[in-house]
């Protein structure tokens, strides 16, 4: 009985998501939903490197920007179709992530955090100053929508909100399949092992550089994908979007959602995107309250909304969280397992 109730809840949630545009909601809310989907990709991307591998990156906004700019520029200047430009945008973000990841991923903790912060700033400043290509602070207006796809019997066009919603939703669902496959396999285990103890992981035969760069590049690829979708949806981009502030927003979505889980970042991006939108009416008080909320939530929900879900035993949560557990939240010393950095082997 209890089980059926939970199934029903999960089922109706899925149906709501699938039929959202036809539930009579205002287009404005559809807009928020689309932004949430894009943000979910960003938060999932960060989750790979920060949630699973334990290396916090503040460069996600930069990869978001690289993906976005590459896609938009290819479409605007080379007149390439979105369907080709987007993969190239993703490839570009991934490639740069590999190049930057190989030297910086040796860094630990805050050292890595701040160097990714620095990298993000460098990318932003390049977008801002490399005027001949990026048009600098003026941004890129007039980006076309993804080209229509002809399926023989019908043509799928992507210039409406509803179409954009389904495009983004489809992409997210496909990503989720591959994402959970990867996380629930040898690769995911290797990443979590690295988070637990790098040295032991290395001694177990895990190539640290390879897996860390893999996670970093995978996260960047998702950000690049989000960037391409963003450019194709908003159709105007400028360097102001790809700032440290954005990187922090992504981080907040991931952590408040519940890092190291799959449902967490998605929950986080939906809730935070919606919260930030609706809180706009609070004007000056919006960010005061938001800041305070961030602090309070993290204090009382240290494993995020996903933790709340699992804690209340919600089937929906378990369904997505599958076999993995939320990241640990206490540093409390486990018996005899000492701090990995300084201890003796």
């Amino acid at each position: 009985m209890y089980k059926t109730v939970k199934r029903t809840v999960a089922g109706s949630a899925v149906i709501t998501v699938l039929a959202l545009p036809y539930l009579g909601i205002k287009t404005y809310y559809l807009h928020i939903a689309i932004l949430s989907l894009i943000n979910a990709l960003l938060a999932l991307g960060l989750n790979v490197i920060a949630g699973y591998t334990g290396q916090l990156s503040l460069a996600q906004a930069a990869f978001f920007g690289i993906g976005s700019y590459t896609t938009a520029l290819l479409m605007l200047q080379q007149k390439i179709s979105f369907w080709l430009a987007a993969p190239l945008g993703i490839a570009c973000a991934t490639l740069i992530a590999i190049l930057i990841g190989i030297p910086t991923l040796r860094l630990k903790g805050p050292y890595f955090v701040i160097s990714t912060l620095g990298f993000g700033e460098i990318v932003r400043l390049i977008l801002l100053n490399w005027e001949s290509v990026t048009r600098g602070p003026n941004g890129l207006p007039g980006i076309p929508a993804p080209d229509p796809i002809s399926l023989g019997f019908t043509v799928l066009a992507f210039d409406t909100k509803v179409a954009a919603y389904y495009l983004n939703l489809t992409v997210l669902l496909l990503v989720l399949v591959v994402y959970s496959n990867t996380i629930n396999s040898r690769v995911g285990r290797a990443l979590r092992a690295i988070r637990n103890d790098q040295i032991a992981a290395e001694v177990m035969g895990i190539n640290l550089t390879f897996y860390k760069v893999l996670a970093f590049a995978g996260g960047a690829a998702l950000s690049g994908l989000a960037g391409a979708l963003y450019a194709g949806y908003i159709r105007f981009i400028s360097p102001d979007t790809f700032t440290l502030g954005e990187a922090i927003n992504i981080l907040v979505m991931m952590v408040l959602g519940g890092m190291g889980t799959i449902i967490g970042p998605i929950l986080g991006s939906v809730i935070i995107t919606y919260l930030l939108e609706t809180m706009r009416i609070l004007a000056d008080y919006r960010l005061i309250i938001y800041g305070l909320l961030m602090f309070i939530i993290i204090l009382y929900l240290p494993s995020g909304f996903a933790g709340l879900l699992t804690a209340t035993g919600e089937k929906i949560g378990k369904f997505f969280v599958a076999s993995e557990k939320p990241a640990p939240v206490c540093r409390g010393s486990a018996k005899e397992i000492s701090e990995p950095v300084e201890s003796e082997v």
């Binding site: 287009t27 807009h31 600098g136 602070p137 003026n138 210039d159 159709r235 105007f236 979007t241 000056d284």
Partner: protein, 367 residues
């Protein structure tokens, strides 16, 4: 697209809703506040005088914090949730450019009173109307003044690294080069506080004049640090450097600085006089140029709506308003008359003022 066309805008007595998008929080919160006040004053006056054919005006303010993505969301909300008749905004060019895609798709007219990037009216979007001078207009007017009235031909430009500052710097530099002058260009980011490095370079260049393209906060520190470094060159600035807020934090370093201004409270224009009086009575301070520009924009919309016939639904209201706006010609306003050209751009004359003992002297237009 999918929004239900509720008839509320069409009924004869329902208020006419319009959206005002601006940075009420974030780095430009201060001009954002002026924008809000300018709108509130105009709406109060219009409604007190009976509204528009009996219908009241109802502004809805949405914050964009100067971030394009937020501005897009605000626009989406105003158009599809609040179903406003038209929009006024925004402060930044980037946010305006981001919003323009939506107004084009949803077919909603937008008045742009402050953002100055040239693309806004050059991109062929027929729903935008701008009642302020663009970057090149402003730069050309200041540079013409300099070349006509002084012998200064060697310039240093220091600009904020945003679409606003960069647009002004590029236009100014282009003008100087075309006229055979010399110029170097330095830049800084919003939030920077120390300009010694750039200014030391400028000092060694020994320019006749320094042109500052930026906002008041950094601008005040630049002029102060110019004085600290003992640089002796004539200072020029755009927009923000003609405000009293700038004067208050410049600590006297603005003595002799010449700046452009859209609006002066001691302007002889009688509309402006009335506006200044009313604004001061309501808010206790002198209006700045942002308040004036947006105040004027509300009145432009009012004039256009008064020319319209009664509309049944919101979509035709919006499209007819667009046509009425496009026909605006020689409409008097606090910043001078407005006529929209085929691109929706009004030709606006800026003023040129000079600081002296914390007061401004109008150098141009002379009368």
């Amino acid at each position: 697209a999918g929004c239900g066309s509720s008839a509320s805008q069409g009924t004869k007595t329902a208020p006419i809703k319009f959206g005002v998008i601006g940075p009420y929080t974030g780095p430009n919160a201060k001009p954002g506040q002026s924008m809000k006040q300018g709108v509130l004053l105009a709406v109060e006056e219009i409604n007190k005088a009976g509204g528009i054919k009996g219908r009241m005006l109802e502004p809805i303010f949405e914050d964009d914090a100067s971030v394009p993505a937020q501005s897009v969301s605000a626009t989406e909300k105003l158009i599809t949730k609040d179903e406003v008749a038209f929009l006024i905004g925004t402060f930044n060019s980037s946010t305006t450019l981001a919003d323009m895609k939506i107004i084009d798709r949803e077919k909603v007219p937008m008045l742009v009173p402050i953002a100055v990037a040239i693309e806004i009216t050059e991109s062929g979007n027929k729903w935008v109307f701008r009642n302020c001078a663009t970057n090149p207009m402003q730069a050309t007017q200041l540079m013409t003044y300099i070349f006509n009235n002084t012998k200064q031909r060697k310039f240093a430009i220091i600009h904020e690294n945003t679409d606003y500052g960069k647009g002004l710097a590029t236009a100014s530099a282009a003008f100087i080069k075309e006229k055979g002058g010399e110029v170097i260009t330095e830049t800084y980011s919003i939030g920077d506080t120390d300009f010694y490095a750039q200014l030391t370079k400028v000092k060694n260049y020994e320019p006749d004049a320094i042109i500052i393209c930026g906002n008041l906060s950094e601008g005040s520190q630049i002029t102060r640090q110019i004085k600290e470094l003992g640089i002796k060159a004539q200072l020029y600035g755009y927009g923000g450097l003609s405000s009293y807020d700038y004067n208050n934090i410049a600590g006297g370093s603005n003595e002799g600085l010449i700046a452009t201004s859209y609006f002066e409270s001691n302007s002889p224009n009688p509309l402006a006089q009335n506006f200044v009086k009313a604004y001061k009575a309501k808010f206790g301070v002198d209006p700045d140029m942002f308040a004036a520009a947006i105040y004027e924009a509300v009145y432009i919309a009012k004039a256009a709506m008064e020319k319209m016939s009664d509309q049944k639904d919101i979509a035709s209201f919006r499209s007819e308003l667009r046509n009425a706006l496009a026909a605006t010609k020689d409409l008097p306003g606090v910043q001078g008359p407005t006529t929209f050209d085929s691109k929706g751009q009004a030709v606006k004359q800026v003023m040129i003022v000079q600081w002296h003992n914390g007061q401004k002297k109008i150098l141009f237009p002379t009368n």
